[in-house]
């Protein structure tokens, strides 16, 4: 009778522990399944901490429920006192030292795993590392590849390569935070400060994330994704982009992507207007006015295109002026 609640609790905890990984993608009972060595090590520290805190949880809640049941009044007079125990030095010393030991173990595990999480490997079997410059801006991510190619929000990288990200934000922008849960922890994009993070993925696929630091009205729309491609496919894509961005003819992929990820979040995918006004053919007709608007912003609109490369400005304007049927 007395052991029942405790047994039920232990059973429930055990059932939870068994059921959790069985759920697709672990159901949130652990960080999303890691796809990069640094994310894997973070997940390892999670399980180590969960083991200790889980044990403490069962101990404390079990004792609480047991005492509540065991020492309830049960018809004793209200003023009947329990034994007047004022403390117990050795016991209190024990429950001071035990947590210190547990925390020391957790701390040791963290420092043991840290280099594998934080230090960017120089290279991998697939080749030298790929360095990409990442800028968080209201409300999109701008990427610059070593060969000058520009991409927005969706970062395409080759499989198995170490990818090092230099993460920052323009000095006139606000703080953002780069995060793709499957590929490791987040790192803030801070105006005037350059941070770094990295990942290395051995499975082609699309890994989603989003900005994790409040950056204004469309913070919720500041999504990012990493698309991991087989090497050959990546090589084809990056060359196609380099060619198109150096010698643009009419509408380009960069122009479409820039509209979709930079403009559409406020002006709508079909230019119908959301938070910002609708974009009619008349509003986008004046090239010089558009350039000025992109560089300076107006009212609630941030200067989204300030210090963009000419290629990106031209690509967007070409897309905007290609007519409303161009849409998103």
């Amino acid at each position: 009778m007395l052991r029942k609640p405790l047994a039920a609790l232990v059973l429930a905890a055990a059932a939870l522990a068994v059921a959790a990984p069985a759920l697709a993608g672990n159901g949130g009972f652990a960080p999303v399944p890691p796809q990069s060595p640094n994310a894997e090590r973070i997940t390892t520290t999670y399980w180590v901490i969960l083991a200790f805190t889980g044990a403490i949880f069962v101990l404390v809640e079990g004792a609480l429920i047991y005492f509540i049941v065991r020492y309830r009044r049960r018809g004793r007079p209200i003023d009947q006192e329990g034994p007047q125990i004022r403390g117990h030095n050795r016991l209190e010393l024990a429950w001071t030292i035990a947590p210190v030991v547990i925390l020391a173990i957790i701390g040791t595990v963290v420092f043991y795993e840290l280099p594998g999480i934080q230090d960017v490997p120089k290279a991998s079997a697939a080749g030298p590392r790929l360095e990409i410059h990442v800028e968080g801006r209201q409300f999109y991510w701008n990427f610059r590849y070593p060969n000058g190619v520009i991409a927005v929000d969706r970062l395409r990288v080759p499989v198995n390569r170490v990818v090092r990200l230099e993460v920052t934000a323009p000095t006139y922008d606000v703080i953002h935070s780069w995060w793709v849960p499957a590929l490791g922890g987040k790192i803030d994009a801070i105006p005037g400060k350059v941070n770094e993070t990295w990942f290395q993925v051995d499975k082609p696929g699309l890994y989603r994330g989003q900005c994790a630091e409040l950056c204004g009205i469309q913070h919720a729309a500041m999504l990012n994704a990493v698309e991991v491609l087989p090497q050959a496919e990546y090589d084809r894509w990056i060359e196609e982009q380099a060619g198109e961005q150096q010698n643009p003819r009419g509408e380009t992929a960069l122009g479409r992507a820039t509209y979709r990820e930079v403009c559409a979040k406020c002006h709508g995918f079909r230019r119908e207007g959301l938070i910002g006004p609708a974009l009619t053919e008349a509003t986008v007709a004046n090239t010089e006015a558009l350039k000025q608007l992109l560089a300076e912003g107006r009212g609630a609109m941030p200067p989204v295109g300030r210090d963009w490369d000419k290629a990106q400005v031209d690509a967007l304007i070409a897309h905007l002026q290609a007519g409303s049927q161009g849409g998103g």
Partner: protein, 545 residues
């Protein structure tokens, strides 16, 4: 005879009217009640903001509010709950109880005390006036990180700064008052080691406020200079430093967390022994762990900044200091458990809330250990995991303790006991609703849902957890409404009246009448232990035997 009949009838002076006497009062008990009532009103307002947010998040892609409104909602909710609810309601308990518990007639500076209250009220009104300001309420979060808060248009952000400035002055004056009172006005025999643990917690609360509020005031001043005078403390494009604000804010902000939890823990340390009919287990350890937590709370601030790119040795330092602070917190939890051991437990609503505190605060403490481990924090920072953690400590911790305190001291304040049936309904609805609201948020955070977003990915698991959370929040809301109902019914219920000491308690506030006279005590007994009332009860029993 004739002279007697013609004796002049003095009219009551204007300041003794039903309303004016509350407006002009310098009585610590009335000021305490004003603090508590005002904070509860703001608690209702902040709660409504939270429910609107939960409606917006019930499903993905809802359109209950506009994105801008959503940002205003969480900014106002956070600011309200921290600055206008938890901190001032604890000041209210402190005001009411500290002089009574140490056998004093009032606070050291009664008029300063009234000043603190009125500044608090005006500060709160300044914040809420921002709903009607040009540009609406502030929208940069309760932390108001720069450069976002520098660039935000409209005067809402400026009113936020003004309001917090006023509130820091209120808290600072109140804190100094507490310190002076506790140091100088303890009755004969009330040594530090006989001080009620709640008074210990208010002492540390006040010392922390004095130590860290000036940092907040400085940060706010620099922020308003940047906004209005075009200075460049925080503007990176003019050579300022965006991270400076975060350091300044969290140097205040983390101790603020303990400012909000230590007096709540003090309430628990008063309630548990009375309802377990035992002395608190390890009085000295609990008193000194309060001091230790207060001290270490000033050394952990950068654990809020693990993702900004600090050097590893700094993150290591702040991880270790954050873990060290878990040790005295654990000591308290184990000591409270041991207080229950072999007791004669009675489960009045006050005790239920105290036990609920123990159960849920433990979860909040444990999730804090995850967040202290900085590589894991890189995953969890700024996600719903953090939202869950902070609500487990501040709602499951502070608010549960505050309700324990309200049920426990209501008979002292008004001479009437709150109804037990409604109290128990309230407790169970809040406990279930609370866990249903906030437990799934841990999972959402691990799945990748950042905080402060007005809508989220169309994913069945995200929607399921969010819907559970929304349902839980309304269950909690019903529980809190029952408290209001309970208060109204208690005013009229004839059987609600109680004697001076309905719980057979241990501390000095129960020695006087309920409610106490304006001067508190006709005579104060010489204090011979930390449980003066139990000593008196025993002496009386011996005498009659």
């Amino acid at each position: 005879m004739a002279a007697r009949a013609e004796a002049p009838v003095y009219p009551r002076p204007w300041y003794e009217g039903r309303v004016t006497s509350w407006l002009t009062t310098t009585d610590h008990k009335r000021i305490g009640i004003l603090y508590i009532v005002t904070s509860l009103a703001f608690f209702g307002a902040g709660g409504v903001l939270a429910l609107i947010m939960r409606l917006q998040l019930a499903q993905s892609g809802e359109h209950v509010v506009e994105p801008e409104t959503y940002n205003q909602l969480f900014t106002m909710h956070g600011t309200t709950m921290v600055f206008l609810v938890v901190v001032p309601i604890l000041a209210g308990f402190g005001n009411y109880l500290v002089p009574l518990m140490i056998g004093a007639a009032d606070m050291a500076f009664p008029r300063l005390n009234a000043f603190s209250y009125w500044m608090f009220l005006f500060g709160g009104l300044a914040l809420y006036s921002s709903w009607f300001a040009s540009g609406g309420a502030p929208s940069a979060g309760w932390t108001s990180y720069v450069p976002l808060s520098v660039e935000t248009q409209g005067v809402g952000q400026d009113l936020w700064i003004l309001s917090l400035h006023i509130l820091t002055i209120a808290s600072l004056a109140g804190a100094i008052n507490f310190i002076v009172t506790i140091h100088n006005m303890r009755t004969a025999g009330m040594t530090w080691m006989r001080l009620p643990l709640f008074v210990w917690s208010i002492e540390v609360y006040a010392l922390l406020l004095v130590a860290v509020l000036p940092a907040l005031s400085a940060g706010l001043t620099l922020l308003i200079f940047d906004r209005q005078l075009d200075t460049h403390f925080f503007k990176p494009d003019a050579g300022g430093n965006a991270l400076l604000y975060q350091h300044v804010f969290w140097f205040f902000g983390h101790p603020e967390v303990y400012i909000m939890i230590l007096p709540a823990m003090g309430i628990i340390s008063e309630v548990l022994p009375v309802f377990a009919r035992k002395p608190i287990f390890g009085y000295t350890a609990i008193a000194f762990s309060t001091v230790a937590i207060g001290f270490y709370s000033m050394l952990v601030w950068a654990h809020h900044m693990f993702t900004v790119g600090l050097p590893s040795f700094l993150m290591g330092f702040f991880m270790i200091s954050s873990m060290i602070i878990a040790v005295p917190t654990g000591v308290k939890i184990f000591n409270w458990l041991a207080t229950l051991w072999r007791g004669n437990l009675r489960f009045d609503s006050a005790m239920l809330f105290a036990l609920g505190f123990l159960g849920v605060f433990t979860i909040g403490g444990l999730s804090g250990i995850f967040l202290a481990a900085f590589p894991f924090d890189w995953q969890a920072q700024d996600t719903y995991f953090v939202v869950a953690h902070l609500h487990y400590v501040l709602f499951g911790g502070s608010v549960f303790a505050i309700f324990a305190g309200l049920y426990y001291w209501w008979p002292k304040m008004f001479g009437r006991r709150l109804g037990e049936t409604l109290g128990k309904w309230q407790f169970w609805l809040m406990l279930i609703g609370f866990n249903l609201t906030f437990f799934p948020q841990h999972l959402l955070g691990l799945l990748g849902m950042p905080r402060r977003i007005y809508t989220y990915r169309n994913d069945s698991l995200w929607e399921a957890y969010n819907l559970a959370s929304t349902i839980g929040s309304f269950v909690m809301g019903v529980g809190i409404l029952l408290f209001l109902l309970n208060v109204m019914r208690t005013r009229r219920r004839p059987d609600a009246r109680t004697g001076n000491d309905p719980w057979l308690a241990d501390t000095l506030e129960w020695f006087t009448t309920s409610p106490p006279p304006p001067h508190n005590f006709d005579r104060v007994p010489y204090v011979t232990s930390a449980r003066p009332l139990r000593d008196i009860r025993r002496r009386m029993a011996e005498r009659s035997a």
